[in-house]
């Protein structure tokens, strides 16, 4: 019938009119980027970390720098863990490489700064501040051997 397409079109737009809108009200409502989103800084569980340094080796850009010290039982203990997000390309290789799964993305995406230093994050400090892993005492970076 002539004009049937017009009615079909009007039915489509009417359904669209009452449907849930897809607009994301970004600054007011944070978007849900899904589980597989790679971004932000590294969420470090310092108690789980064995200071093996595989993440540091896996990083193609050298954006992870960690140092460790030996404790009385001759076990390695993390002393510093620095993630330079300015160098990071969010490739996920460090997280895949970690044998104890102690790092993960924080998933934030709006952390720009005014200088390169603003993008360098001390992950141990962050973990304590944000409460990812409250039980941890940060030790001074003594003449510990590298990882």
């Amino acid at each position: 019938m002539q004009g049937k397409g017009l009615l079909t079109g009007m039915w489509v737009t009417l359904k669209e009119f009452f449907r849930k809108k897809v607009t994301e009200e970004y600054p007011d409502v944070m978007p849900d980027l899904g589980d597989r989103f790679r971004g932000g800084t590294l969420k470090l569980k310092t108690s789980k970390c064995i200071s093996c340094g595989i993440c540091q080796n896996a990083c193609p850009n050298g954006s992870i720098k960690l140092t460790s010290v030996r404790d009385e039982n001759n076990k390695r203990k993390l002393s510093t863990y620095v993630h330079d997000a300015g160098l990071c390309l969010f490739c996920n290789l460090c997280i895949d490489a970690c044998p104890v799964k102690c790092i993960d993305w924080t998933g934030e995406f709006a952390f720009s700064g005014y200088s390169r230093e603003d993008l360098v994050f001390d992950c141990i400090d962050l973990a304590q501040k944000r409460g990812y892993d409250p039980v941890e005492v940060k030790e001074p970076p003594a003449d510990g051997e590298k990882g």
Partner: protein, 358 residues
Amino acid sequence: MTDQNIFMAISAFLRSFLGPLLGNDLTDMVMYGAGLLGVIIFIFTNAVILVLMERKVAAFMQSRLGPNRVGPWGLLQTVADTLKLLVKEDYKPHKVDTWVWALGPALLFIPAIGAYAVIPFDYQAVPVDLNIGIFYFIAISSLSTLPFLMAGWGSNNKYSLIGGMRSVAQMISYEVPLIFSLIGVIMLVGSLQMSAIVEAQHRIWFVFLQPVAFVIYVIAATAETNRTPFDLVECEGEIIAGPFTEYSGMRWAMFFLAEYANLVAVSAIATTLFLGGWQPLPLPGALGDLMAFIPGWAWFAAKTYFMIFLFMWFRWTFPRFRVDQLMAFGWKVLIPLSLANILVTGVGIYLYRMAIGG
């Protein structure tokens, strides 16, 4: 129907107040002035509401939220836009035909306001209840072709001129089926007076008696108001903004104001002629009494806004016609169809009279 409504109450109050002061003749003039003021306020308020409504409807049909920054739910968006347009520079392009160019938007507003003189907003609330009401409306609304052509010609711009020419071609072509579609209703009523047309729909709305005429009217009215799918006059993909190309600031806003004034006017006429005007929904029994409890102006506003929503719905659903398709559709489909409708209506009235032995 109640004999008393808010408009009559206001009118009676003003008359009782002014009558002793000014005498009868002067009071009549003041009352016409008050009516005009009311109409102008009505147009401006509606334009403000409709610009927001158009953007919201457009957004909703495209799965967006639309304006939502200025005020709650974006309600003050139009106010902000109007303020912006008011303070913009009044820019006059070099080599425009100054008088024709400047008069275009101002003159376009005259038929837009004039058309409201005969619209029955409520029982006995017609600014001027002419006995040739609908004829007056048709006559005055066809005048809006000329300012479009003036704007197109005066702008000294080829796109504007094309838009102006298209406007004339389109509006004159679609005026014919528009008027023919109204004739069916006029034949049923036997009067051109708006109040009589509304009264005649006390039992049944004419949309049920004249469905074909209603469809033709809606199509032709869309073309008359230059709205999609018949917006060949502006048609930004082809000719920038047609006759509006060289206008900015408040002059450009005048075109918009007139466009929305025309939109409300054609919707109000559709309400009056086909949807029973201010009459409530004719339901039997207690339900009908309940419907009659809602005031007439609310019915009128609800029906008019339904028609406006229909026009917006068309706009955000259908793609634009090509010029030759538009002309072919107008002359080869709508005009024969509307003529056939007049014939069928005439025969129907004759048979009805035979049947009731009149």
